[in-house]
Assembly symmetry: C2
Homo-oligomer: 942 residues x 2
């Protein structure tokens, strides 16, 4: 990759008439200094006088641009109160202005160079462009211990022999899948990296100082300075009624650190690094050299959906954290391919074997003609088992031995996925020179500092010693939040169960009606209404989903977490719980509760006296679970992705288009003339990766949690993700402001959540297989009860007998001759004693045997699968072997380099000493300086 | 702590006549340079001529001690073959000598200073004492990025207000528990730490260069150099028959790195740092200032058994890894206190409630008079249930609801223990300045390099390019080892089941005998013989235990792991599996298999046609499990600790004493005169922490795995550990050579093993409670079958009926009138249908119900306890809050320091520039030098 300034010169030489465009907002007015960061603030349009003064100040600014030509501003503290009396009667905005000025002068003292621009085409917004000169970049890089490539190069040896050939073949095979980039080719040599230090400058290749730090690094270094720089001088005089408040507010402004609190208090509107040049501005030739253009072509485009993502490039442009997100998404999507393949095979296996399935054959067999008991009291009548033929056959698609295999497979798949990701992460860490980097403890948040101050002020007016927020201080917030969370979970439950209740009551009401036509249509009516209600519920839950995040932000804020990291983790955790409950409550109800507590014919169980619990169709509840799952997955994807993520922006654009028609295309033209830092200001700010991760984790839940009942889930997820990646990419490239490039070694709390979901998935799958599906009863029948070891008459075995004379008062069917003949004994699906036993309708021995088998299966399945996952986890090393080898090799090389340097130094110094002792009469200085030059020479020689 | 050299001077001033003693082997002959490391080698006593030459060489040595006075030896590579022709006809020892010389000259080139001593009082052993001068220490510390305390001091604020008072109170309360050390008092100030760098020397307090690096650090720095220094020159000419072998061996000597391979090939006998002065040499006054003395008094003494260990001191003397082991042992022992307390309470609860236990009351009730079926065919007769009264009552002690609570408690205890340890580890990391330190990838082991070389030579004689060992190369070794491991596990199983079979067959043989006296004594005889056999088994297994380690070393060596770390991990893992199987097979047999597959009266199950499976006594197998557990725990502790760890050394001393009597006390006298490096040579070498950890982990297994059946286990473990700590301490202080101080952040693989054991413990406890104890049947009876919800007639419910007329041929008892009356119906403990049911003696519905309940309990218990453990894991932060705060604070302070420095530097440089531009006519040098002095001044001022 060429660096922007170089490209700029190149462009100049290519097309000299366009050299102004090249600097369209990406450079200072002098066209040389790059804009590394932009701060925006609000200026009052109306008060032209203010604008004038600010312009005046601006001039003063430009004069003070080069620090060192003028003496630095006087020490800030002493004249804080005294030095600004002419501002004390000014209004709110002026106070902000004052704080801005102070902050900016502090920035300049830190060595940054600023340029102010208030006469832009976007009225009401002022811009401060920040440039970091070389020395500052060096200093900050040293403080951050940024690892940079040194001049020392070594050859990366790839595995030899057969492996090499195989690797070469594979890479040839996958070549079209790789993005079309230069740097993506496997490199033969690698630069050793070493934490940047000005004392070891000779190690690094500083021939092109402009490109040594790329734009992402530059902006993150500037951001470090912005975070650290404090505004100690400003005094807030307005709005503070009491002394206490005044002190508190003074405290906030004096203590709270850096840009975050200034953004929080509205002194600045926004702070962002600049995107590379806008893709809309230039023709193809010019764009050739910009990363953004490459990203746009090789990443944020649907036409490359089958390709790997250019992760290195993403990281180079957006920083490590966002790079990790997309790498993770890529690994996840990639891992979904085998999962969905196996899932489809399992499904096909079900399709193929559906005709050989003895139980469903028996159900469909018209000759067997088993008379079933009515499914509800009074209104329902006897029915023939063969009418459930369709459901039974469909159930077999999802309920066959292959699903058991598949859920074991998916549990191991999840373990593999985790391991694969860990290795990938390690590899990326190595490639991105993050080995040895430690995540830093965040600065305390402004809100936290504020609360602490408040507390210590209340306690003791004089001693302003720093306190901590203890549990007792946070207790009220914790309690309210706990209640709040429970309330929201309660609301979710209420919605789900409200719908169920509605369904039950509609059914009951319809059943009660005397109209026989209505009654005969009961099933159909209920089904259609239920489907509509389901959809409505899903929509309501979806809307809930959208607002959960905002509620959670509120909730977590009230807890006043200390650091941003803690804030984020709490927020993620709370949002995750709510979303999880929201997404899985209806499914869990269907899988484990629906039709479980129905009672038996003649004494069906009722809730609220008249509403009967819901029944499942004869084929088991698995079928309904499948339908619900596919609706949720498809619905969610369709609505969320297409409607929200694609539709809403399109709609916005449409509205803007209609508006612009009124403004007769002026806006668009106008936009084209905007400078880069202005267009960026109009983009959406980057709101963090939490929503992106959250969506994927919930999807991961769908893929793993109920995979035993719905083997097509991975396929659906895969299809979704292929779109999702490019959608997200487009968003990041074109619709968001460039995010601050944050360093990060891992995906943090998300990994733990993934692990948790994978763990829960094992248990849920164990229960689905043993309790929701008919797998265990079949096994038990085959090995305990079947006379010939086959599945013949399994259906008969699962059905208990009921003597119709035992119907209690008013529970007998109204139309006993519905089937056309008199019924003495009917059958129902349960394990109960027959009417002729000593204890009729009691739970039978078979029930307990099957239950024991089911539970035994859960115990065995859970422990075996967990053990296997642990073994997978343990066998696969977290660090890929070649990486650990290379890290070791680099260490050795670095050590050798230093040792050589040491030896060279001492040798030269020794010889210097000798010469100096020999020629003590001569000027010592000269010999020393000659020595020094020799040392420098040898340094460069190494 | 004062440093040794300082103390030395102090002692000199105190007692000038003893100043020679002060240097007893701890310093070079000049009495100034400290011995940091010692290498020993073998010299042939007989060949006096060789000795002479070596002495000559020695003189040459002393001359070359101060590197730099003479030019360094000529470049080694070229004259490797040419330069040493006069040695080529020498014998084996001379070759070693040559390699020693070359290695030592390389060491000198690295900057170390050596002193050779062959005329010691220990004939046959030569010593090379190594001293590292200041510059070398600095260089190595910089390479190792050793964090050292800087001059910058800040005040550590302790929590304020109520918490402070509570803390003060607690620390006052626990004051007598702390070791009697100066440094143990809570410090008010802390030095900031920063990785040592010669370029930042001004940060550190270098006023006393001798004490800046303590003896442990010095020796570990020297060890680093020793590891890195290679011997490239030596050529092995003897014993290499073929060219191939010659090349291979040449390769080993040229490639293999450092001291480890030299030790491995016997060039050196041993390499160790020196202990502080021996405690036997000095009077109390002199010892006052040495760490070792403090350790001896405040740590390695039984009289301080109730005190905390001086962990800081241990780390200071033995290094971080050993410090961590003792810290871990301390935390474990400390955590055992609450566990054993609760355990005792649970046991006492059992004792108190034994009289209120209805089932055992019913068993003991003579009036109920339940006739039980014979426990074996023919020879056994009917018996009265009331004779099992004692066992039933004893069982209640361990089988009551409190044990369920206790096993949940212990699972959580284990989780707490892990978390507590993690936090403690983090705290120690912080206190020991290890934050940011990363465990280094080890050097490849010499054996590995050798194998790789062998392989590449076999493959291709010419291209000596480096290969890796692939799986295919290791496959044969893996396979043999797998078989080996399985074989050893098989042997363990064979022993355990052999004993069981012996027991069964004895019983059968005795039963067969016609003598009625013998027959009546069957039970007693079998019991006593079984007890003896048990003890013998335990002893055999114990002996196995001791040899497992050696076998594992062999096994793992054959796998040729690449690095020492990998070697260690494989060794630990394999040893752990074998030891675990060895320790827990008999117990698992008793808990889950014994008496399970007995069959029913009239059709008892037989193995090998005539041997019946063992039965448990009526009270359930829990009682026998308890007995086995207490025997194992006490026996192991008694035998291992007292016999092996105390007894064997005592015995050795006794033997030596008897020997020395023959030598008329000469040896002891002689020993007193030995120099420190000589006495250390006679101590046992340090063999790693693996055996120590292993012992504790197996104990942890006993404490957690079967805690449901034996609540006193933690108490036994606690008592053992209190002795164990002091025993280990004595061993480290007095009986072992001082180990190389290794840095380490954590206890490595042991933590994972602990986690694994804790996980398995949850499952095992769930099974013990639900299957071994009577807890679940009781619950089921109480809530499903009991007419009044009480436990009355529970015993009756668990007993099935048997009609004696159904005895099959030859299975009826020989003495039917043993009880004095005719028996029609007898009872036996099982859930089976009565004789009068349709399916007599079939498994009954109750059986399935109880089984389902048992399995349900397992599922619920396992998941609830695991969830609770995870919650504990998640709620308790891994890094203690105050530590994370302090780390953050230190970072800020360090940053401030650097920023101030930066500003100072630039300001001065600016002013320098100004002055230099002003006075350009004057000599530039002077102004530059003055600037430099100002910079230095400001640096010191910061």
């Amino acid at each position: 990759m060429f660096s922007p300034p170089l490209s700029c010169q190149l462009l100049k030489s290519l097309a000299p008439e366009e050299n102004t465009k090249c600097q369209q907002g990406l450079y200072f007015q002098d066209g040389k200094r790059r804009v590394d960061y932009v701060l925006t603030y609000h200026i009052k349009k109306t008060s032209s006088s203010r604008r004038h003064t600010s312009r005046l100040r601006d001039n003063a600014f430009t004069r003070t641009l080069r620090r060192g030509r003028e003496p630095p501003p006087p020490a800030p503290k002493d004249d804080a109160e005294v030095g600004s009396p002419h501002h004390s009667m000014d209004h709110h905005d002026d106070d902000k202005c004052l704080r801005r000025e102070e902050f900016e002068s502090n920035l300049m003292e830190m060595g940054l160079e600023l340029e102010r621009d208030e006469e832009t085409k976007t009225p009401g917004v002022g811009f401060v462009k920040i440039h970091a000169p070389w020395s500052i970049l060096c200093r900050e890089a040293e403080f951050m211990k940024l690892k940079m490539p040194t001049k020392k190069v070594y050859e990366v040896k790839h595995s030899s022999g057969v492996m090499e050939k195989i690797n070469a073949f594979i890479s040839k095979l996958t070549d079209p899948l790789h993005p079309n980039l230069e740097e993506n080719r496997t490199q033969k040599v690698k630069h050793l990296s070493y934490p940047f230090s000005r004392e070891k400058q000779h190690l690094f290749d500083l021939s092109d100082k402009d490109s040594f730090f790329d734009s992402k690094t530059r902006s993150s270094l500037v951001f470090e300075v912005l975070k650290r720089t404090k505004c100690t001088k400003a005094k807030f005089s307005m709005g503070s009624k009491t002394v206490l408040e005044g002190i508190i507010q003074h405290f906030i402004f004096t203590r709270c650190s850096g840009i975050t609190s200034l953004l929080g208090s509205g002194v600045y509107l926004a702070a962002y690094p600049l995107h590379d040049v806008s893709i809309h501005h230039y023709t193809a030739v010019e764009l050739f050299l910009w990363i953004l253009k490459l990203l746009y072509e090789e990443w944020a485009s649907y036409s490359v959906f089958y390709k790997y993502q250019p992760i290195g490039l993403i990281r180079k442009y957006f920083g490590e954290k966002i790079g990790l997100y997309f790498a993770w998404l890529g690994v996840y999507t990639q891992m979904l391919i085998p999962a969905s393949l196996v899932g489809v095979i399992v499904f096909l296996y079900g399709c193929v074997t559906v005709d050989d399935d003895i139980p469903s054959m028996e159900i469909c067999d018209q000759r067997k003609n088993i008379t079933m008991c009515p499914l509800c009291d009074r209104v329902c009548s006897y029915w023939n088992l063969s009418t459930a033929c369709g459901t039974a056959r469909a159930s077999h698609l999802f309920d066959n031995p292959a699903t058991v295999f598949f859920s074991i497979f998916m549990a191991l798949w999840a373990a593999f996925f985790m391991e694969h990701w860990k290795r990938r992460q390690m590899r990326l860490n190595y490639e991105w020179d993050l080995t040895g980097f430690e995540d830093e403890e965040d600065h305390p948040r402004a809100e936290y500092e504020f609360r602490v101050m408040q507390k210590s002020l209340k306690k003791d007016h004089k001693s302003q010693k720093k306190e901590k927020l203890t549990c007792r201080d946070r207790f009220p917030a914790y309690m309210t939040n706990l209640i709040m969370m429970l309330l929201m979970i309660g609301v979710t439950f209420a919605i789900v169960f409200g719908v169920i209740l509605y369904r039950i009551s509609t059914k009951a009401a319809l059943a009660m009606s005397s109209n026989p036509m209505t009654r005969s249509n009961v099933r159909l009516t209920v089904k259609t209404t239920a489907a509509i209600i389901n959809l409505v519920t899903d929509l309501v839950l979806l809307i809930f989903d959208v607002y959960f995040f905002h509620i959670c932000v509120m909730v977590v804020s009230s807890e006043v977490p200390k650091t941003d990291k803690s804030f984020e983790e709490r927020l993620i955790f709370k949002t995750f719980i709510l979303k999880f409950v929201n997404a899985f409550t209806p499914i869990i109800y269907i899988a484990f509760f629906r039709g479980r507590l129905g009672g038996r014919p003649g004494s069906y169980l009722y809730v609220f006296e008249s509403y009967r619990m819901e029944e499942c169709a004869h084929g088991g509840c698995l079928m309904e679970l499948c339908i619900q799952l596919s609706i949720t997955m498809l619905g969610k994807q369709l609505i969320q992705n297409n409607l929200f993520e694609i539709g809403v922006p399109k709609l916005k654009k449409l509205i803007r288009y209609i508006k612009s028609k009124r403004g007769s295309f002026q806006e668009e033209e106008y936009e084209k003339k905007l400078q880069r830092y202005e267009t960026d200001h109009f983009l959406e700010p980057f709101a963090g990766l939490t929503p992106e991760y959250m969506e994927m984790i919930i999807q991961f839940g769908f893929v793993t949690l109920f995979v035993a009942s719905f083997p097509l889930a991975p396929l659906f997820a895969l299809l979704n993700n292929i779109i999702e990646i490019r959608l997200d990419a487009k968003k990041f490239v074109a619709e968001l402001r460039r995010p601050d490039a944050a360093r990060g070694k891992d995906i943090g709390i998300w990994y733990n959540i993934l692990r948790g979901v994978a763990k829960v998935a094992v248990i849920v799958n164990a229960f689905v297989i043993s309790f929701t599906s008919d797998f265990i009863p079949r096994l038990v029948y085959q090995y305990m009860y079947s006379p010939d070891g086959s599945m013949h008459s399994f259906v008969n075995h699962t059905l208990s007998y009921f003597n119709v004379s035992h119907f209690q008062n008013g529970t007998a069917p109204l139309e006993p001759f519905h089937l056309g003949f008199h019924v003495d004994i009917c059958r129902y699906k349960d394990y109960r004693e027959p009417p002729w036993s000593l204890t009729p309708y009691e739970i039978s021995k078979e029930f307990w045997a099957v239950l024991a088998a089911r539970l035994a299966f859960v115990v065995v399945f859970q422990n075996v699968v967990m053990l296997m996952s642990d073994v997978v986890d343990w066998i696969i090393p977290d660090i890929p072997k070649d990486i650990s080898l290379q890290i070791y090799k680099e260490k050795i090389l670095m050590m050798d380099l230093f040792m050589k340097e040491e030896q060279g130094k001492t040798r030269i110094e020794d010889s210097c000493k000798e010469t100096s002792t020999l020629t003590r009469s001569r000027s010592i200085q000269s010999s020393v300086s000659s020595c020094r030059s020799i040392i420098v020479m040898t340094k460069h020689f190494e």
